[in-house]
């Protein structure tokens, strides 16, 4: 299994309880460097919770997370980000009061060091960082094919575009690993296709690793090297797409077998 050869992320016995509910129950897996790892599972299985525990949004009840050789268990979100991990959110998380370019610029935060006062007095370092970040943002907007939207406010954009902007902000972080929570929900098929291409591209150029939650099975089968399946907070399968797809437990819990599954699977390559 490729993932374990060269893991960038190692999740070990992760557990998360909310009152009486165990949202994550002793989940362990690894994600390989430069690979796309998918997390799938029925609604409420704990996928978002898993993301939240890894990125420090929630403090796990038990278990460890190590990233790029560093133990990041219990890190606050910003420290996780600074360690080189970036994420998007299930229900979109943009800064509605900032235009698209500024949204992207926030992504460059971790590469700078200048403070409030330095900015206030136009200190040289602040200006330098600003210029560098702006150049980078322009590049990324170009890359996403939306340079003309730099001045637009995110609220004016359609949902799919907003998702792209969020992705752009994540790219600004130059992270080693990117966590995407349902990046393609609400997108049309051609847009999904473009998004898939984007993910591929980023991964190949920069060797960025991805951890992706997505319900669109064709897409998942298409892009992932490795799939982790959760159900009721427990890991029920873990392996390459072809194998997971055949796994009876997965079919029973998630994919379904009869017409329902067919409808969804009709587009699979």
């Amino acid at each position: 299994m490729a993932a374990t050869d060269n893991p960038i992320l190692r999740v070990d016995g992760l557990q998360m309880r909310f009152g009486g509910l165990t949202a994550l129950d002793n989940v362990s897996f690894t994600a390989g460097e430069g690979e796309v790892t998918a997390v799938i599972g029925p609604n409420g299985a704990g996928k978002t919770t898993l993301f939240n525990c890894i990125t420090g949004m929630y403090r796990a009840s038990a278990g460890r997370v190590s990233f790029a050789g560093q133990d990041i268990s219990g890190f606050a979100p910003h420290r996780v980000a600074r360690a080189g991990m970036a994420r998007t959110f299930q229900n979109l998380a943009l800064f509605p009061g900032l235009n698209v370019r500024d949204n992207l610029l926030v992504g460059a935060y971790r590469h700078g060091a200048s403070g409030l006062i330095e900015g206030a007095v136009l200190g040289p370092r602040a200006r330098r960082e600003q210029a560098a970040a702006e150049d980078r943002a322009a590049e990324i907007l170009e890359f996403l094919g939306i340079p003309e939207l730099a001045e637009a406010m995110p609220g004016e954009l359609p949902y799919g575009r907003q998702k792209q902007v969020e992705f752009g902000r994540v790219l600004m972080q130059d992270a080693r690993m990117i966590l995407l929570d349902e990046p393609m929900a609400g997108m049309s098929r051609p847009e999904k296709t473009l998004m898939v291409a984007l993910i591929r591209n980023v991964r190949h150029r920069y060797g960025v690793s991805f951890l992706v939650v997505e319900h669109d099975m064709p897409v998942i089968m298409d892009i992932s090297d490795h799939i982790v399946v959760l159900d009721f907070g427990r890991k029920i399968a873990d392996g390459p797409p072809a194998k997971v797809q055949q796994d009876p437990a997965v079919i029973a819990a998630y994919l379904g077998s009869e017409e329902a599954g067919q409808a969804v699977f009709a587009g699979a390559a």
Binding site: P42, N43, N91, G160, S188, D222, L255, A260
Partner: protein, 261 residues
């Protein structure tokens, strides 16, 4: 472009006539849209992001003003009577249910309370019966009766939103992006439930869906919206078979490309 065939001609349940809608002063979101939902019919509204699907739903349900939009032309008829000027809650009480985009549940209320609010327009006696029917459709909701809705997962909230709309026993149900964020199994199951809803309750459905294939699988009739205009309309099979549909929405070609690249 209209493909052959129109829905049943006798007074349709819901009819949208040359409807135009704009946000703010200039942002035209819908342009002279015509659409019909027959009694107990299932109609799908397809289209890319930003095509105006949500706008259409909001206009029909009267919520558009809450989102700073305004009707600039045309009318909306429910059983032949214009409802364009009515307040959204009036429209709901006239029998129009809605499952909005992005799961608007009452986060601080329990599942049960959410459903009770949904059915608040019903008399007390029928309400209990109706709630049982909803729980039958979604056993997961029955399990979580007393949980606060805000703590449920995305998919569970989606079910709740659907359940809440059904609790009011609407004659026509507007559903915006039902499959968004739902696991395939659940999507499949819910679509099965939609069929049941129509059969059991005779509820007409207007379904907005990104997943064209899924929607075409259950609807009688489909409309395709592009940049605020209907560009394709016709019976489901015909729409599904059309060249344009294949190119843009069912994505056969694009997918093959992606797979190759």
């Amino acid at each position: 472009m209209a493909l052959n065939g129109t829905p049943a001609a006798d007074t349709p349940l819901l009819e949208v006539r040359t409807l135009s809608v704009a946000y703010g002063r200039k942002a035209v979101a819908l342009n002279a849209v015509n659409l019909t939902v027959p009694k107990a019919g299932v109609v799908a509204l397809l289209g890319a992001n930003g095509a105006g699907k949500t706008t259409l739903i909001r206009t029909v349900s009267g919520l558009i003003r809450l989102h700073n939009g305004a009707i600039t032309g045309g009318e909306v008829l429910l059983e032949g009577k214009s409802i364009a000027g009515l307040s959204a809650d009036r429209i709901v009480r006239l029998g129009m249910g809605q499952v909005p985009e992005g799961r608007l549940v009452f986060k601080n209320l329990t599942v049960e309370e959410n459903l009770q609010v949904g059915g608040a327009i019903l008399p007390r006696a029928t309400l209990a019966e109706r709630l049982d029917a909803v729980y039958d459709l979604f056993p997961r909701l029955a399990e979580r009766k007393d949980q606060a809705a805000g703590l449920m997962s995305g998919g569970e909230q989606q079910m709740l939103a659907l359940g809440r709309a059904l609790a009011a026993s609407p004659r026509v149900l507007l559903i915006d992006e039902l499959s968004l964020g739902l696991a395939p199994l659940i999507v499949g199951a819910i679509y099965q439930q939609l069929k049941k809803i129509r059969e059991h309750f005779g509820t007409a459905l207007l379904i907005v869906e990104q997943n064209a294939r899924l929607a075409l699988g259950i609807c009688d009739y489909a409309y395709v919206l592009e940049r605020g205009e209907i560009v394709l309309a016709g019976p489901a099979e015909l729409v599904a078979a059309s060249e344009r549909m294949h190119e843009s929405y069912l994505g056969a070609r694009a997918e093959r490309q992606a797979a190759a690249g």
